[in-house]
Subunit: 239 residues, 2 copies
């Protein structure tokens, strides 16, 4: 059985300028792994129409799912919804369902539902809304593309809305062993072990602690029995 | 005058599985911005030969510089050097200059310079070495591609070696104003201001603090006089 695949597209000048450090990719990676969906690729592009359109089309054509974060707020630099509509060749308008949600939200808050805020109701034709329990302004799913907010707590809430609707795969399991030896010392036998288990992925991550070299060895796969067998041999090699 | 452009390519299964959160992109973004080099795009791909080759060729063809992190260690999953050589259609071998550096390093440490460690001397033909003051194993520059380690302190040391060799641009300046109003309230006048300064980039980044909405407004550009003029008008609008 193969696992579904996914990509992440982070949209925002503030990530590329170094002002903000993206945290959404790391969060999504962990959530997808738990559900057996493989994150295959991630990209960051600027708030630039052509760059967003190109990345959306490249990634949605290649992987089962594409998740985006950023660019769906009320200001002039929030151009993601229009770019995603253009990527699909679809129209976009102030959709009645999104307008109603936002009108009710601002009525409750006693705030004017002005032109800028109405921008957040621009949703491509045929898209379905993604619930935003934090601040109401919805994301949307169009085909296999899930368009979500960049603010981390809203992004996370939207991921929680979307993931249960997707078909997962066998959970991607991992086991790791911490070894107090440098990578160069264990690389030979570790490679031989990896060659014996072609269905598993084995990675090694070096660290230095108190001036001494160490390595975290990680084995990933979907078959628990294979994982256990590999781990037993790994421990026999290096423990 | 236009600023040089750059892209970042992060290579590693551990980022896509959610095991490790990438910090190198954020570090590089800040360093490039200070030197007037615009980071235009970033990608993360797995430890997969074809994926690395494709991303290297896409990004080195499009931007002035490409920086990579990850996959240059001694273990079987370290395949970046071979993939970059393949992307350029060049050969790769245990280069004498890198072999000498590493041999001296392991001699000093009293450790065997074994086959695995010799893997770190595999350098594409015609590449120049990037100094690694932390752990000796070098990165390399091939054409406009700078191949560096994934371990953050080594990546940072290599960036410090490479950046002084590159032609920078006018510094990318930014000024910001923190406003205790939500984005939806300031979006209209902020967009009008942005339209008056087409050479500047203006972004708005919402936050919630103690339950109240606020927004950081950021203006970026290379012309200090324009930046000051825009900032004066911004403060008049919202302070």
């Amino acid at each position: 059985m193969t696992n579904p695949t996914a990509a992440m597209l982070v949209i925002g000048d503030e990530i590329l300028s170094g002002r903000t450090r993206d945290s959404n990719t790391h969060y999504l990676a962990g959530e997808l792994t738990q559900r057996g969906i493989r994150l295959m690729e991630a990209r960051v592009v600027a708030d630039d129409h052509a760059a967003i359109v190109e990345a959306v089309n490249a990634l949605r054509g290649r992987w089962d799912h594409l998740f985006t974060s950023g660019g769906i707020g009320p200001t002039h630099d929030d151009i993601t919804a229009d770019a995603v509509a253009a990527a699909f060749g679809l129209g976009i308008s102030h959709r009645a369902d999104a307008m109603a949600l936002l009108q009710a939200h601002y009525d409750r808050a006693g705030l004017e539902f002005n032109t800028a805020r109405q921008r957040m109701a621009r949703i491509p034709d045929t898209a379905t809304l993604i619930d935003n329990p934090v601040s109401t302004a919805p994301g949307f799913t169009l085909g296999n593309v899930h368009v979500m907010a960049g603010v981390p707590n809203i992004f996370q809430a939207m991921v929680a809305s979307v993931l249960p609707t997707l078909t997962g795969g066998e959970p991607l399991l991992s086991q790791s062993l911490r070894v107090n030896r440098g990578e160069g010392e264990i690389a030979g036998p570790f490679a031989a072990l990896a060659a014996d288990f072609p269905d598993l992925s084995m990675g090694s991550y070096p660290f230095i602690q108190n001036g001494a070299h160490g390595t975290n060895l990680v084995i990933r796969g979907t078959d628990p029995a294979q994982l256990d067998a590999a781990m037993t041999r790994l421990c026999a090699l290096f423990s």
